[in-house]
């Protein structure tokens, strides 16, 4: 019985971890290229959730349709915020960009609240379920995790195989050197920021496929915290590390619950959080660059 529960929770953790990882890739990409810590990260996830809600509830369309739309909305927001604010702060002290991204998050929350109100909303997309024996997975969750994995692979290929991806890697290595070699560094910065925000907004769509309720303007806070933990776990400047960190985090969060539940007189949920942060501290002590981060 315990083994069955543990296996079931690990499967659920892996599926959720893929989405966590995807939701963190944008954060890592922006930090990796621009050295900007986006503390408004969760608000962009929230925008993706509302795009999905709007597509499903108002247009009566499949949430999968919301994915490309959310990505485009995210890219547009990324370019707007980059050219209006971030561009001036790339070389500024970290606190300036930190405050700017915080302000962006608050601004987005209030705009969405103005449009949609502050109620907790949700949608009910009936897709059927697959019984794996140890657990039951709704098909929508499988779509979300497969979508996350596909996007991670596409991002990897884009970095490795395209000129713009190569230019981005050059800027990460040495921005001045890249500039001397003719790379449009400002353009790369803009594209990186827009791509990071696009991925984050897109992850909001996938997240609602996993949990299609609790959609509200302030839902992002919980995911911001998790994203930072995952980013540090995988390597703050590494998008692939972030994806890998997400998988690890999902497994730890869900798997440990079953094991802690075996201890008499304890509330497992409290301990799973404790364990997540303990692992984070250990990673920071033993490998500060994260599991897949490089010096």
């Amino acid at each position: 019985m315990v083994l069955e529960q543990l296996t079931g929770n690990l499967v659920q953790g892996l599926v959720l971890g893929a989405i966590y990882g995807m939701a963190t890739m944008g954060l890592s990409l922006i930090f990796g290229v621009l050295r900007v810590v986006n503390v408004g990260h969760g608000a962009f996830i929230m925008v993706g959730a509302f795009v999905t809600l709007w597509v499903f509830s108002s247009l009566g369309m499949n949430p999968v349709v919301a994915a490309p739309l959310a990505f485009m909305v995210g890219m547009a927001l990324g370019f707007i915020f980059y050219y209006s604010t971030i561009r001036r702060l790339v070389k500024a002290p970290e606190l300036a960009s930190l405050l700017a991204t915080f302000a962006m998050g608050v601004l987005l929350e209030e705009i969405v609240k103005l449009i949609f109100g502050s109620e907790f909303r949700g949608y009910n997309w009936v897709t059927g379920r697959i019984d794996l024996g140890v657990t039951i997975l709704p098909v929508s969750k499988i779509y979300a995790s497969v979508g996350s994995l596909s996007i991670a692979v596409l991002l990897y290929l884009w970095f490795k195989k395209t000129r713009s991806g190569t230019a981005m890697r050059c800027v990460v290595e040495d921005s001045e050197g890249a500039r001397v070699c003719g790379v449009n560094v400002d353009g790369v910065y803009a594209l990186s920021f827009a791509l990071g925000i696009g991925l984050t907004v897109l992850s909001g769509v996938l997240l609602t496929m996993f949990i299609p309720v609790g959609i509200n303007p302030y839902m992002g806070g919980a995911y911001t915290l998790k994203a930072f933990v995952i980013a540090v776990l995988g390597g703050l400047a590494s998008p692939y590390g972030a994806f890998f960190g997400g998988l690890v985090f999902g497994l730890i969060e869900n798997g440990s619950y079953t094991l802690f539940a075996l201890l008499p007189g304890v509330e497992p949920f409290a301990l799973t959080r404790f364990l997540s942060f303990l692992v984070l501290l250990l990673i920071l002590l033993l490998k500060p660059t994260g599991l897949l981060g490089k010096k």
Partner: protein, 427 residues
């Protein structure tokens, strides 16, 4: 000499003005003032707006239909003085002080929520001011030794009594109960009460766990809950986790005969978010539009009746807030509190807080909100919660028998059946 004359004249004028301002001996007050730090903005704005409308509606009924409060042989009108506390603790304390010292109110109505009510209680207590609680359900408020606080909302510990009584009544063979709730003071208090009542009715608690505030995934907990094979699940905490709870029960196909969630299941937004997955889900509520409380029901249980009928209250409420909106329990309990205060003042024959508090302790009555009676600590013991269930997309009051608008759909459909479009149909 001239100066002395001037001082005398000024003194005479001032004394005259003072005497003119004072009511003549034997005359009662010209008005009775209810003071209220209302939550009109901030996180409790919705509940605060409802409370404001409920109070205004019942003040209007007392003044225009009832004719005022009978005090000293004459009818005295009620006046309602309120400020926006912005749902902030620090504003509550300063506004209560202001209402008592500057506005000279006769009673203070607490703001919405247990936290804010508890924050204001010491201020009212230190000034020996009657403090009436219509929105703070936590039993802990009444364990602090406050003498001037009286509750109208039902206490948290009694939220699920009706649900358990009903299941015990309709299906005595189903004994296995799972409790899963938010790790918050309010939810814990609800569950302590539910557990005690369940054990009293010989239910078996097969699962009991909490989850943290702000949880985003309940899958591990619900997997463990499913393994315990309960017949009935009681849980929740707030609106957002209630939605998540129901949704993820559906995802994992945790099929039970009854699911009751606090604070979430009774709200329209709950069904809007979950649609068919919310069919058959129940939740306790202090009051719902449609309850059948009436002078005849009051007669049956031997209680005096006061106040507007339910429909009169609804129409007064709409007029008070200037919106075409059906009031919810936040409005009803605040309105019922006005009626309790009026009856207590009449019984005490005084506005003195100590005497009115004693009268409130002896008071038992029924209104559109249901029964009203408090124990020695001021805790509400006379008001029964109603149980609401989603049936075919509509809220139906299924318990208690004296308030219900329909029969319960029991057992509720399985989640797979709901996914195929099956709705909850009464037995």
């Amino acid at each position: 000499m001239k100066k002395e004359k001037l001082v005398c004249v000024v003194s005479v004028i001032l004394i005259g003005l003072y005497l003119a301002a004072c009511p003549s001996a034997g005359a009662g007050p010209g008005k009775i003032v209810i003071g209220h730090p209302a939550c009109l903005s901030g996180k409790y704005a919705k509940a605060g707006e409802q409370a404001l409308g409920g109070i205004k509606a019942c003040v209007s009924w007392v003044n225009n239909v009832y004719g005022g409060v009978l005090l000293g042989g004459r009818k005295v009108p009620l006046k309602y003085k309120y400020y926006d506390c912005e749902s902030k603790k620090e504003a509550v304390t300063s506004l209560i002080s202001r209402l008592i010292t500057v506005d000279r109110v006769n009673v203070v109505f607490a703001p919405y929520s247990s936290g804010l009510t508890l924050r204001g209680a010491p201020v009212a207590e230190s000034r020996r001011m009657l403090y009436m609680d219509h929105g703070g359900a936590n039993n802990r408020i009444f364990r602090q030794g406050f003498r001037y606080i009286v509750q109208t909302i039902g206490p948290a510990s009694r939220y699920h009594e009706g649900t358990l009584d009903m299941i015990h009544h309709i299906d005595p063979g189903s004994k296995r109960i799972a409790l899963a709730y938010e790790d918050s003071e309010f939810a814990k208090m609800v569950m302590v009460g539910a557990k005690e009542h369940a054990e009293m009715l010989d239910f078996d608690i097969v699962f009991e766990r909490t989850y943290p505030k702000g949880v985003t995934d309940l899958t591990p907990l619900l997997s463990a809950l499913k393994a315990a094979r309960p017949d009935i699940v009681i849980g929740g905490g707030h609106f957002e986790d209630g939605q998540l709870f129901n949704r993820q029960m559906a995802d994992l196909e945790v099929d039970v005969k009854a699911l009751s969630l606090i604070a979430a299941a009774t709200l329209p937004a709950f069904y809007e978010a979950l649609t068919s997955m919310a069919e058959g889900v129940m939740g306790p509520s202090h009051w719902e539009y449609g309850v059948k409380y009436s002078p005849q029901e009051a007669d049956k249980v031997g209680l005096p009746w006061i106040g507007p009928s339910q429909d009169e209250f609804v129409s007064l409420f709409k007029k008070a807030i200037g919106k075409e909106m059906i009031p919810d329990y936040h409005a009803a309990e605040a309105g019922a509190q006005v009626l309790a205060y009026v009856l207590a003042v009449e019984a005490a024959g005084s506005l003195d807080s100590d005497r009115v508090r004693v009268a409130l302790g002896d008071l038992k009555f029924m209104s559109f909100y249901g029964g009203w009676d408090v124990d020695d600590t001021g805790l509400q013991v006379g008001h029964s919660m109603v149980d609401v269930q989603w049936q075919m997309g509509k809220r139906v009051i299924v318990w208690p028998p004296e308030a219900r608008t329909g029969d319960v759909a029991y057992p509720m459909p399985t989640f797979a059946e709901k996914a195929r479009g099956k709705v909850a149909v009464p037995r």
